[in-house]
């Protein structure tokens, strides 16, 4: 089939969506990533000082860097353009959902049937294809500037291309296995990218943590996939989820485990799949990896938190939702076990993570916990059957969270810029000097082989410095910031837009509309007296309040007031391409963080409904056809109560934050008022409820202890002992054989030639070299022969008489 055929056939076109980034990955990895290894101490190297002795670090040439960036950008742009074409085509299809764009190939023949791999474009895929390539493209553009001075930019673009390619594969997949493939490749990419600065011990540890945590969940998810395949004989989304019979069958078959207790096959599969998502989307209790994932470069954080990884988890549960609902009906108060699990885990995570986010001081960690919290919103929404609301929040969240992460990356970048500035002018302006940042300590730091001092250009610096080596300045700590609105105005405005959207600032922002829809759905169930709806409504409203509060706290601490450190006073993005590529995506995403909400306005909403949804809610109307007609729930009737709740929690949280952190910003050295207010609760929140410590004690310490036992007793004692014994016996037998060999076989073998040689030495004496002796012997021999001849022939006998 020619490329033209792929481009012209709308059923085949989705195959091409992930091709661009995947190709870019291979091209960069195999061809353009020409790195050479140099010692980390070399002045050529501008990255992190390694935490390990004698480590060699790869450095790429400028040409390789440029080509790699271009290839990566070209790959994602191709994917974006093809996605736009797929999306355009999808919008033109009448009744998309009942009819879909679908193409499969037989991939694995299994007896009489065959397992098909393919692509599928239905309404849910379409909205993902609007969001994912756009967000990815923005992240790529942002990375050009953000990673401009990293010695491994080529590698970064290769990995992030693979990441994007895997996400797009997952989105266009038409079956659970292909989805799982994309899912796992993303797991790998997140591992590689979180540990991108592997010279930092904390980064590589975070990478391992992320990988192992998600692995726990993935294994269980794979169980669910295997069970689903065993039960239905297919993994195709359309065959299972758009098929009343199969769903009915799954909902009535008792499960393998706990089947007697009323758990159905659909229920057990659903629980397995949801556990997979709990790991991937960082829900309680497997949320621990996501905050640590901040160790990666900031564009990666944006990728993981917005465009790909965690969205993939939510996408998977939204995709598999009909399976979870099978046998129940949340809109009628009938909850299946997967739905209960979703709503409880989601609602709990939303409030749990929001409370942690309140007490964090790291600008990225606040966002990390807010991501966990917002993903909890989506899980909870799905749990109460608010399918559309969950999908809607997924899209809007992706936009504003990508924006927030990249804006926070700009802030960090700016702070490092300021830090660099302060290093160079350490003696010029010490009016900002604080006890912890005394200028006289800075030259000492500059001499310790740190990468920064090798640069002469002020725009030339690395994104995030290490925090060790006797240097205490943390460019990510919000308490070190303040007043950045003056030096970084674009970042400030876009951060503000993203923050307000996250907080759900009423009417104007995307976050408001999607959160409002979740609350409206929850309230509708609450008004009918359904327990899970009530739980979700109350917890999410509280979480939304906290979200608004910590967003305002973050904005106030970062941008308002006067700079609290000399670094903050000099924080800016500089000029030129770096600055441009880092602000352009912010502006574009800020646009979407506002307008993306207007596609899902309830029609009955005063004024806004009339403007944006004259006939029906466009988003709802489009996406609902992903489901079977029997499952397509009506949007809840408009009610003032949830809307007012949204208003109150968003404005209340924002207002409280405004009063505490914005109107009267913190000055240098002043403690966070939250510490006094929360009292003994503050350390608990700041330390994330000690979940990491709990896991360290409950899981990591015992497994380490077990590993030690296994290593010392079983491995070294038992297995090694047995092996050593076998080896010793074998050696002993070998020695025995060796003696036998030397003594007997060599003895016989050597003796024969020795005897021959001995005889020869004796016998050669006959050869005297004296001719007369020879002749004498010849004569004697002749006489002897003659006598014998004569005697035997009877001559003598005849002659005798």
């Amino acid at each position: 089939m020619s490329l033209n055929e792929f481009l012209s056939n709308p059923n085949l076109l989705p195959w091409l969506v992930p091709v661009g980034p995947l190709l870019a990955f291979f091209i960069i990895m195999l061809l353009t990533n020409r790195a050479r290894l140099i010692p980390a101490t070399s002045p050529e190297y501008g990255g992190h000082h390694p935490d390990y002795e004698g480590m060699l670090v790869p450095v790429v040439s400028e040409g390789s860097r440029l080509v790699s960036v271009l290839v990566g950008l070209l790959g994602i742009l191709t994917a974006w353009l093809i996605s736009l074409r797929v999306v355009g085509d999808a919008f033109s299809v009448a009744h998309l959902g009942a009819t879909v764009r679908n193409s499969t190939i037989p991939w694995l023949a299994t007896g009489s049937t065959s397992f098909n791999m393919g692509v599928l474009v239905d309404p849910l895929t379409t909205i993902m294809l609007v969001m994912v390539p756009l967000a990815c493209t923005m992240i790529f553009i942002y990375s050009i500037g953000y990673m401009a001075h990293d010695p491994r930019q080529s590698r970064f673009f290769a990995l992030i291309s693979l990441f994007a390619g895997a996400m797009l594969t997952l989105v266009v997949a038409d079956n659970l296995l292909l989805l799982f493939v994309g899912w796992e490749v993303m797991g790998l990419c997140s591992y590689l990218l979180i540990g991108f600065w592997y010279e930092k011990e904390s980064a590589y540890k975070a990478a391992i943590k992320a990988f192992t945590t998600t692995r726990v969940a993935d294994v269980i998810m794979l169980l669910g996939i295997a069970y689903l395949y065993a039960e239905t004989g297919t993994l195709s989304f359309r065959d299972i989820l758009y098929n009343e019979e199969v769903l009915q069958h799954l909902a009535t078959t008792p499960a393998l485990l706990l089947g007697g207790a009323g758990l159905t096959a659909a229920g057990l599969i659903g629980i397995f799949l949801i556990i997979g998502t709990i790991g991937k989307s960082a829900q309680f209790p497997l949320h621990v990896w996501l905050p640590d994932a901040m160790e990666g470069p900031t564009p990666v954080s944006a990728m993981i938190h917005a465009a790909a990884m965690v969205s993939a988890g939510i996408y998977a549960v939204i995709r598999m939702y009909p399976l979870f609902e099978a046998g129940g009906s949340p809109h009628a108060g009938l909850f299946t076990s997967p739905l209960l699990l979703l709503s409880i885990v989601g609602a709990f995570t939303a409030i749990f993570a929001a409370t942690i986010a309140v007490a964090q001081n790291d600008v990225k960690r606040v966002l990390a916990y807010s991501t966990i919290s917002q993903l909890g919103f989506m899980m909870a929404a799905l749990g109460i059957g608010a399918y559309i609301a969950a999908a809607f929040h997924l899209i809007t969240h992706a936009f504003f969270k990508a924006l927030l992460f990249m804006a926070s990356g700009s802030v960090i970048h700016g702070m490092e810029h300021g830090e660099h500035h302060v290093h160079e002018h350490a003696h010029d302006d010490d009016q900002y000097a604080l006890p912890g940042h005394a200028p006289m300590t800075l030259p000492a730091h500059s001499a310790d082989g740190h990468g920064h001092d090798s640069h002469t250009d002020t725009a030339d610096h690395v994104p995030e410095p290490h925090t060790e080596h006797g240097h205490h300045f943390d460019p990510q700590d919000m308490l070190n910031m303040g007043g950045l609105r003056k030096t970084m105005p674009v970042t400030f405005i876009t951060f503000l837009v993203g923050g307000l959207s996250l907080a759900g600032f009423p009417l104007l922002t995307a976050g408001f509309w999607s959160k409002d829809e979740i609350l409206a759905d929850a309230y509708y169930g609450l008004s009918h007296g359904f327990g899970p709806h009530a739980l979700v409504f109350v917890l999410l409203a509280l979480a939304a309040f906290l979200t608004a509060f910590y967003t305002m706290r973050q904005l106030g601490l970062t941008f308002m007031g006067e700079p609290r450190t000399p670094e903050a006073a000099h924080a800016d993005l500089g000029q030129g391409l770096v600055s441009f590529t880092m602000t352009l995506p912010l502006v574009i995403l800020a646009f979407f963080a506002i307008v993306a909400g207007f596609v899902g306005v309830p029609p009955e909403f005063p004024l806004f409904g009339a403007i944006f949804s004259p006939e029906h809610n466009p988003f709802h109307h489009f996406v609902i056809y992903t489901l079977l007609p029997e499952m397509q729930a009506e949007a809840p009737p408009f009610n003032w109560f949830p809307v007012l709740t949204s208003f109150v929690v968003a404005l209340g949280g924002l207002g409280l934050g405004y009063l505490v952190y914005w109107r009267k910003p913190l000055v240098a050295g002043e403690p966070d008022p939250l510490v006094a207010f929360l009292g003994p609760l503050h350390p608990v929140l700041k330390n994330k409820y000690y979940v990491d410590e709990l896991y360290a004690r409950v899981f990591i310490a015992p497994s380490k202890a077990f590993a030690r036992v296994a290593s010392e007793v079983i491995d070294r004692g038992l297995i090694d002992g047995t092996l050593h014994l076998i080896a010793r016996v074998a050696t002993w037998i070998g020695d025995l054989f060796k003696v036998l060999n030397v003594w007997l076989i060599d003895g016989v073998g050597d003796s024969i030639p020795e005897l021959v040689a001995l005889f020869g030495a004796w016998f050669r004496r006959i050869q005297t070299g004296r001719i007369q002796q020879y002749l004498l012997l010849v004569a004697l021999a002749a006489i002897l022969i003659a006598l014998i001849f004569a005697a035997s022939s009877g001559m003598l006998v005849q002659a005798a008489p």
């Binding site: 050869q767 005297t768 070299g769 004296r770 001719i771 007369q772 002749l775 004498l776 004569a779």
Partner: protein, 102 residues
């Protein structure tokens, strides 16, 4: 007429004399001379047997003629070797020429 055994006796005595010379003389030329004696003893045998037993045919005399030729050639070659040895070793003592040994 002289009987056959008388010729054979002379020939045998001559052969023994020749062999004694070959085996006992130290001078290489004398050894060669001994060989000539042995050859001539054989010649006497051949001629005597021819004359007494096969007088009609000429085969005995023909054999003897061949032996004369071979003996002459042998004497020429042998003396040449002896001269050569003498030039190399300044000696015609046969016991000195014993390098072909262990």
């Amino acid at each position: 007429m002289v009987p056959l055994w008388a010729y054979l006796l002379v020939a045998a005595a001559l052969f023994c004399l020749g062999m004694y010379g070959v085996l006992s003389r130290r001078n290489a030329v004398a050894v060669l001379m001994g060989i000539e004696l042995m050859l001539n003893a054989v010649n006497i045998n051949l001629v005597a047997f021819w004359r007494y037993l096969e007088a009609q045919t000429m085969n005995g005399q023909a054999f003897v003629a061949f032996i004369f030729v071979v003996a002459a050639a042998e004497a020429a070659v042998g003396l040449a070797i002896v001269i050569s040895i003498y030039r190399n070793r300044r000696s015609v003592v046969i016991e000195d020429v014993d390098i072909m040994k262990w």
